[in-house]
């Protein structure tokens, strides 16, 4: 197990280094001059030159790359070109929105999907199965921004229970912050839950067809115990895989939902940074996301080992 973990972490580190080079090079090629973008259409050439010097854009590419890598290794992600504050500080502020949002929606989607999936599998072919899987099909098909707008009109405009968007900051109180994140979390969670429910159902069905289930039932074990104890545990591997992927998506792939709810999250930060050619911020956020995906994958691997003891001894 330890050797397995060490190997996974080593591979993760190599991936990080490769990713850093790719990210840096790709962004080098992207057309657009951040200084020109800031000073606009009336900019004088000498003002542009002065700003480029100030931003450190006049240094050679390799020097900037190694400067950036070395800085990151020491925990310094550099300073944003547009916002004149440290990249790490910017990311820190945004993570405080994106991480709770991802966790709440992950919790919601799991809490909905697992029971529905298991329930549907246990009633295979019966009306309950058809109805819940039909609902899941709709859930997958509905675009989440549209669903978000429906939620806004219902709960914010009509019932006025929650704000229509925005984030007051955690210093406005835990409840105020949670309320602001609730609708976006639901909007994000539902399509995810639909996918997860379908995965759970098919994994369960596969397991339920195994011989040991039949044996357990034949021995007279109650259906409920067989379902929750024997079957679910074995069906969890594909579910965990999907959960890991979903978490990575929820952390950064939420640009559209963050726009609809105008939340200051990581997705918005990276979107804004790209349009502003604030490359150092883009690089910083992408590296953080790469690191997160790698970490989540390692965690999922550990999860596999917990669920399936056979994987613990495998080298």
């Amino acid at each position: 197990m330890l050797a397995f973990l060490a190997k996974r972490i080593a591979i993760g580190l190599v991936t990080l280094v490769v990713a850093s080079a790719v990210v840096f090079l790709v962004l080098e090629i992207v057309p657009g001059d951040p200084a020109l973008l800031m000073l606009g259409m009336n900019a004088q050439p000498e003002a542009l030159a002065a700003l480029r010097e100030e931003m450190g854009l006049n240094q050679p590419v390799l020097l900037r790359y190694f400067g950036w890598i070395a800085g990151m290794a020491l925990g310094d992600f550099g300073n944003s070109y547009t916002y004149s504050s440290p990249v790490l500080e910017l990311i820190g502020e945004r993570v405080l929105v994106s991480l709770p949002l991802a966790l709440i929606s992950l919790f919601l989607s799991t809490a909905i999907a697992l029971p529905v999936g298991i329930f549907a599998a246990s009633r295979r072919g019966k009306p309950a199965d058809t109805i819940s899987m039909g609902a899941a099909q709709i859930g997958v098909a509905i675009p989440n921004f549209w669903f978000a707008l429906i939620l806004i009109y219902l709960f914010a405009v009509w019932l006025r229970l929650v704000p229509a968007g925005g984030f007051p900051g955690w210093d406005a109180g835990l409840w105020a912050g949670f309320k602001a994140l609730l609708l976006p979390a639901i909007a994000l969670a539902l399509p995810q839950a639909a996918i997860l429910a379908r995965v759970t159902r098919s994994a369960m069905l596969e397991v339920l067809g195994e011989d040991y289930i039949r044996t357990a039932r034949a021995k007279g074990m109650p259906r409920r115990i067989v379902l929750w104890h024997h079957a679910l545990r074995n069906a969890l591997i594909p579910v965990l895989t999907i959960l890991g992927l979903q978490f990575a998506f929820l952390l950064a792939g939420t640009i559209i939902i963050e726009n609809v709810f105008y939340l200051p999250g990581l997705g918005r930060l990276i979107f804004q940074a790209i349009t502003q050619r604030d490359l150092i911020v883009v690089e910083g956020v992408v590296m953080l996301l790469v690191a997160t995906v790698i970490a989540v994958n390692i965690l999922v691997d550990i999860g596999y080992a917990i669920v399936d003891p056979r994987l613990r001894t495998r080298r």
Binding site: A47, L149, I152, G166, F261
Partner: protein, 493 residues
């Protein structure tokens, strides 16, 4: 469900009635589409900065009023020498910056010298190009000598890029802006909002609002529910074009269609074949149907223009009839120019709806006369680099939002590649003239020259579509300068 709603509604009404009885509201949440990159108007071209801070937090020697007029601000009065080269400003006394430091002539000298210094990163450095020396006479008097007379100098000093900053705070204004205005900085929640609060020590007439929050609402679909739910009470520039009818019929809101300084034009590369041929440019002008373009520009609003000048300006002349819509004539002109079967060209479109949506209409109109356009969508960064800087384009659509910017047609090396000595002469004469009537005459001549030369396809003046709570008074309907001046805004009870 209905019972729940009426209970909740009743409770809200009670609450609202309770607060209304006490006093009129003094807080305001304003929706803006773009977040400012930082908060120093003297170091960026981003309109988002001026739209929050101009006149509210920062002030210049002069300021631009509601109708584009030049008004005194930190300068109480001024005298101009007969040769138009010496300006002596009498400054207001008893003015302090928000950090408590005193405002005097030294701050003015510092600001102007900083803006025109060699390492200046001021986005509108050309505003200060005419300044030769800045001299402090006494703490309340400053004298500015110009190297040549400049008729627009007082106007230039009213730009957001010319606001007065203090040497003590200039370096930190990007994060914590310190000005002299009626509002002072409270906080900036990055990605969310910028909040200003009333400055109790303001030198002038105090503002009615205690607190003004500028909240970033980037998505058009989010803007309407934000208004309907009462989270945001005003959008000076409403992003939602086709959803506007939803608000227009609602008595709780006011929809104000005003004018901006944004001439929306089909910019043409005058230095490139076949656009260097005036007949081709005239043909394009005849092929454009302005009414149709406005109908398809994303909002359906806009005033047709025939030159590069705002209809709100007193010197405006209507030149839309110079080359009226006439596809047959356009075809004839193309044939005369040697393109009887038309030609192919590219049309680069930046992100705003007026360009992306309007561009489709323009392309179909030009196809009618035989010009096949390949549409290339570009981001702003690409547009600035390819079109604006490297002049690598045939046609593009863009709104020139800087106020009073007809002088760009006199600029060498500008992306239009337009060179006309006669036009430059008019601009030089304009600089040397201070008399208002003469200036109007010169502006009109300038408009006619570029209209007749069909430098670009002149389409429409970008509208300012403002939406706000009907109980809100004093919001600006037009935007003669990129700003949301809140000094006269208050709630009626």
């Amino acid at each position: 469900m209905n019972t729940i709603k009426s209970i909740i509604g009743g409770a809200t009404l009670l609450l609202a009635a309770g607060t209304a009885a006490l006093a009129a509201r003094t807080d305001l949440v304003i929706g803006v589409v773009l977040e400012p990159p930082h908060l120093d108007p003297t170091a960026s071209a981003a309109a988002a900065i001026d739209e929050i801070l101009y006149a509210n937090l920062f002030q210049g020697l002069t300021r631009i009023g509601r109708n584009g007029e030049v008004l005194p601000a930190l300068a109480e009065s001024w005298e101009v020498s007969d040769d138009g080269k010496t300006y002596t400003f009498k400054l207001r006394s008893g003015v302090t910056f928000h950090d408590g430091t005193t405002f005097d002539a030294e701050d003015v000298k510092f600001t102007l010298d900083r803006a025109r210094a060699e390492n200046s990163t001021n986005a509108q450095k050309q505003l200060f190009a005419a300044i030769d020396t800045v001299e402090v006479i006494d703490p309340q008097t400053i004298r500015i000598m110009l190297s040549a007379p400049q008729g627009s100098f007082l106007y230039n000093l009213g730009w957001g890029d010319a606001v007065i900053v203090a040497p003590e705070s200039a370096e930190t204004n990007k994060e914590k802006p310190i000005g002299t205005g009626p509002f002072k900085f409270d906080k900036w929640a990055k990605g969310s909002s910028v909040t200003l609060v009333k400055n109790p020590d303001y030198w002038g007439e105090p503002v009615a609002l205690e607190k003004a929050e500028f909240r970033v609402v980037p998505d058009a679909a989010a803007a309407i529910p934000a208004l309907l739910s009462g989270d945001v009470q005003a959008f000076p520039q409403m992003p939602a074009g086709d959803a506007l009818s939803q608000i227009e019929n609602d008595p709780r809101f006011v929809v104000a269609i005003g004018a901006t300084e944004g001439e929306t034009i089909l910019s043409t590369n005058n230095g490139k074949e076949p656009f260097n041929n005036i007949k081709v440019r005239q043909a394009i002008a005849h092929a454009l149907n302005r009414e149709e373009i406005i109908a398809g520009n994303g909002s359906g609003y806009g005033t047709p223009i025939g030159s590069h000048f705002s209809p709100a300006n007193e010197a405006y002349v209507d030149l839309t009839g110079t080359y009226p819509y006439d596809p047959a004539k356009a075809k004839a002109l193309l044939a005369e120019a040697g393109y009887p079967d038309g030609f192919k060209a590219t049309l680069k479109l930046p992100p705003p709806a007026y360009a992306r949506d309007g561009g489709q209409v323009v392309a179909s109109q030009l196809r009618q006369v035989g010009i096949e356009l390949e549409i290339i969508p570009v981001e702003w960064a690409q547009w600035l680099e390819q079109v604006f800087k490297n002049k690598d384009y045939d046609l593009t659509i863009v709104s020139h939002t800087e106020p009073n910017d007809i002088n760009i047609y006199a600029r060498d090396d500008y992306y239009f590649n337009y060179k006309n000595p006669a036009f430059k002469e008019v601009m030089n004469a304009l600089d040397a003239t201070a008399e208002p009537e003469k200036r109007i005459e010169l502006y009109q001549t300038a408009q006619k020259i570029i209209a007749e030369d069909a430098v670009n396809g002149f389409m429409f003046q970008l509208p300012k579509i403002g939406v706000w709570d009907a109980k809100l008074q004093g919001m600006w309907e037009n935007s003669p300068i990129q700003a949301n001046d809140l000094t006269g805004v208050k709630w009626s009870d």
